[in-house]
Subunit: 264 residues, 4 copies
C-alpha cells in the first residue's frame, strides 16, 4: 500500500485495471477523440487546457521546427537505421541527441534568456521599458563573452521566413506578448551594441512564442523535441524506400581512403 | 551544383535563403498556422493531407499512447536527467530507447502482423473471410512458437479501456477498416486455438487504427514515438519541480547494500 | 534497513562511506593498479578473473572491432557532436545506437548462433562431429530463410585480415575451442549447401573467439560495445580539431537542393 | 577517386580489401594481440603508444570509474532493457546518457578546469606557485558563483578511497604531475576561501590523473565513458539472470497509485 509520504508521486498519470488516468482526467472517456497530441502535451506540462489560440500557436511553432531536410539530426537518424534497422526507437533517439546547443536547442535557450531578463522588469512594459531591459541583457551577455541567443542564421542571412509568420500569427491570436516583443528589442539592442544587425531567427522566435503562449520557459527545450521527433520519423519512412545512409557511408569511406583522406 | 543522379534526394524538405520548403509546400505561408503537428507528421510520411476523420483518429491514438505514469521509459528519462540535467535531449532519448519489443513497440508489431496477414486476402473481406485469415495467421504464429501481437495486458486483464474507445471512434469516423476488424477476429481465433481468451490491448488497437487511418504499417512503430516524446517531456517538467530520480537512486542504492542486497 | 527478500540485489558493486566494493573486492586496494579495464569487464560479467591467455584474446577482439574509420556509427557520433558539442555522452551514445543487426551486432549474433548449435552436440566434438552440427545448423537457417551469421564482408571479399589473426592467436594461447572450430565448419557447410563460398568475417570470428575465451554468448553483443566506445571517443577527439560533421551536413544539404535533390 | 582537398580526412583508420589500417598501423599484424583496448584508445586519441606507466594509470582510472552498483546510469540501462531487450546497444546508450554534469562528467570538468588554470602558469611550478594558481582559480569560480570541480562527495564525506590510491599509484609510476598537484592545492585553497574543507573526490582525481598520464583534457570526458560502458554491460549480464528493472517499475507504479501517489 502506498505511503502518503512517499516521494514517488506524479500528476501525469496512473493505471487501474479498468481505468487510465492522465492529467487527472479519464484517458478514454475525456481525452481520446477530443484533444490533439499538442493539446495533451500542453495539458500535461502546464495542468491547463490550451485555448484555441494557444493551440494554434503551439502547433505553428512545432510545425516550424519539425524538419528542414538533411540536418545533422536527420543524417544521424538515417545512418543509425543503416546499422540497426530493427531498432526504430534507436534511430529516432540518435537524431534527437543532436538537438543541442547548436541546433534546435537555441529555441529553449532564447526562451530562458528572455524569461530571465523579464524576471525583475517592472510592469507595465512599454516599448521604452523593454528597450532598456534589452540593452541591459545584451550588455550582460557581451560582458560575459556570450552570444545573444535567437539572432542570426547561417542560411537565412536576410531574415528567417518563419519569424515574420510567427509574429503575424501571434498578433492575430492575441498572443504577441512580452517575450516576443523583448526579442525584437534584443535584436535592436544587439545591433546598436555591436554595430552589426542580425535578424531574429526562427528557433528563437519559436521559443519566445511558446512562452507567450503559456509554456514555462524551462520546458521549451523539451517541447520542441516533440516536433523534431515527427520530422525524424518521416525521414525513417523515406529512408526505407530510398536509402541515403548506406550510400553516404560508402561514399565517405571511399573518399577517406589514402592518398586523399589522410590527415598529417 | 547538384547532380541529378545523386542518391542524396528527399521529399521532406530543404531551405533556400528566403524560403523553407517542407513536403513540397511553403512552410511559412502554407503550413504554419494551418496544420497541427499530427497533421504535418501524416503529410510528411504519406505525402497526403489528413482528412478531419483521419486527424481525429491519429490524435486519439497518439493521446492514448503518450503516457501512463511511471513506465520504465519515464523512469529512465528521469534518472538520466538526474545525472545530466543540462541535456534535455539526452533524457528524452533515454526514455525513447525503452520503447521496444515489450513496451510501445507492440503497436507497430501488431500493425505489421495484421498488414502481412491481409496481403493475400481476397476482397471483399466479410466476417467469415477475416475469420479464416485470422485462423491462418494465429496458427502460423503458434507453429513458430511466437506470441500473437496485440492481445493481453498485465494490468488491464479484463479489457483495456482504450480499446473500446478506439473502436467506437473509428466507427464514428468511418475508419473502422480491415485491420481493426481483423484484430478482433484474431482475438477470437487465438481464444479458439489456445482455449484462453485474451482481450485486445490498447497498443495493438492503436496500431491497427493507425493503419486503417491511412498510415503505412512500417511507419507505425516510429509514429507512436511522437506521442511518447510528449509524455516524456511532461515527466521532465515535473521532475524539475518534484524530483523522483535522485531519491529513487538513493533508495535503491541503500537497499542494495549488504547484507540485504548481495546476490549469491 | 535492507530487506533480505528484496529483489534489489547485485553482485556488481556498492559503496560505503570509506570503501567501494566491486565484484566482491575492495576497489581501491585490490583492483585499481592491478587489473586492466578489459580484465575488470570480464571479472564483472563472469565473476572470475581472466588468465593472461584469456586477457590477450579479449583485448585482441576488442582491438579488432574498436574502429574502422568512417563507419555509419562514427559519422553519427560526429554529426551529433556538431549539433550538441556540450554533450559528449550524447555523441557517443548516438554512435553506439548504430551497432545493431547490420554492423557490429553480428559478432554477438554469431556467438549465439554457434552456442545454440552446440547445446545438444555430444562430446567429444571431433571434426566430423562438428561438420554434422554445422550442416544441421546451416540447413535450419536456410529452411527458415535466414542468413548464416559470421560469413561474408562487403569490403573483404576474399578474406577478412582479422580472421586469420584471431585464429592464430587463439591457437597460440590454447583457446581455439569449439566455437571457433564450428565457425570454420559452418563456412564449409554453407559453401556446400549454397554452392557459394563466403569467408568467415572478422566480427563473426571475434564473437566465436570471445565465447572460446570464456565469455557467455549472451554478453558478446554488449562486450564488443566497450571496444566501439573507444573508437567513437577517438573520433570525437579528432572531430574537435578537424571537423567533418559540419562540412558533411552543408555538402549534403547543398546537394539535396532542387532541381537535383528532389524525389518524385 | 578521392580529392586531396576533401575535408573527409582521418588519422583513425580505413579499410582496403586485404588490409585494415588503424592509427597508421596494420591492425591484424601490428595491433591485435599486442595492445590492450586501453592502449589502443590512448594511441587513437594521442597518436602515441602508452608507456607501461601510462597504461597502468589509464587502466587504474578506468577501473575506478567503471561502476559503483545501482547508479542512475545503471538503473536506466536496466529499465531500458526491460522495455527493449532486443536492443543491447540501446540499453547501454541509455545508461551513458546519464553520465553528464552531475555523475561522471566531473572527471572531465575537473581536468579542463585544472588545465585552464595552468595555461598561463609559469614554470617551474613549485608548491608556492601552485598555491597561487589555486587561489586565483578558486577565487574566479567563486566570483562567478560556480562550484569548484573535483571536491566533495555525497557518500564519501571524509575522503574518497579512490583518491589516495590514485595519488599513490601516480607517485609510484612517476606520473604525479602538475594537474594532480594543483588539485590538492585547489582543495586547500577552497577550504581557506570557504572555511569548509571538502576532500578531493575520485572522479576529479581520475580526471587530473588522466591528464598527467598524457591524455588531452578535452578528451577526458569521453575517455571515462569507455570504463562506464564496461560497467553497464556487466549490469545487463546480471539483469538477464536476475531482473531488477521490471520489479522496480511495478513497485514504483504501485506506490504511485492514489491516494498515496498524487501530487497536489
Amino acid at each position: 500500500m502506498p505511503d502518503a509520504d512517499d516521494y514517488v508521486r506524479t500528476r501525469i498519470g496512473w493505471s487501474d485495471p479498468d481505468r487510465i488516468t492522465v492529467a487527472g482526467r479519464d484517458l478514454a472517456a475525456d481525452l481520446m477523440g477530443r484533444l490533439t497530441l499538442t493539446e495533451l502535451a500542453f495539458l500535461l506540462i502546464t495542468g491547463a487546457e490550451a485555448s484555441p489560440a494557444q493551440r494554434r500557436m503551439l502547433d505553428a511553432v512545432l510545425v516550424s521546427l519539425a524538419d528542414h531536410g538533411f540536418t545533422p539530426s536527420a543524417l544521424s537518424t538515417r545512418l543509425t537505421y543503416t546499422g540497426a534497422p530493427e531498432s526504430v526507437q534507436g534511430a529516432v533517439a540518435a537524431g534527437l541527441l543532436g538537438a543541442g546547443s547548436v541546433f534546435l536547442g537555441p529555441a529553449g535557450d532564447t526562451a530562458q534568456f528572455l524569461a530571465d531578463a523579464l524576471v525583475d522588469a517592472p510592469v507595465p512594459r512599454d516599448d521604452a521599458a523593454l528597450a532598456r531591459v534589452a540593452d541591459d541583457a545584451v550588455a550582460a551577455r557581451r560582458a560575459a563573452g556570450l552570444r545573444i541567443p535567437g539572432l542570426g542564421h547561417p542560411v537565412h542571412r536576410d531574415g528567417d521566413p518563419r519569424t515574420a509568420r510567427l509574429y503575424a500569427l501571434a498578433a492575430e491570436e492575441g498572443l504577441l506578448g512580452d517575450h516576443l516583443r523583448l526579442l525584437e528589442a534584443v535584436a535592436d539592442a544587439s545591433a546598436r551594441a555591436s554595430g552589426r544587425a542580425l535578424p531574429v531567427n526562427g528557433a528563437g522566435t519559436g521559443g519566445a512564442a511558446l512562452v507567450d503562449a503559456g509554456l514555462p520557459p524551462g520546458s521549451v527545450r523539451g517541447f520542441v523535441l516533440i516536433g523534431r521527433t515527427a520530422g525524424l520519423v518521416a525521414h525513417l519512412a523515406e529512408e526505407r524506400d530510398h536509402p541515403v545512409g548506406m550510400p553516404l557511408y560508402l561514399e565517405v569511406e571511399e573518399r577517406a581512403r589514402p592518398p586523399g583522406g589522410t590527415l598529417d
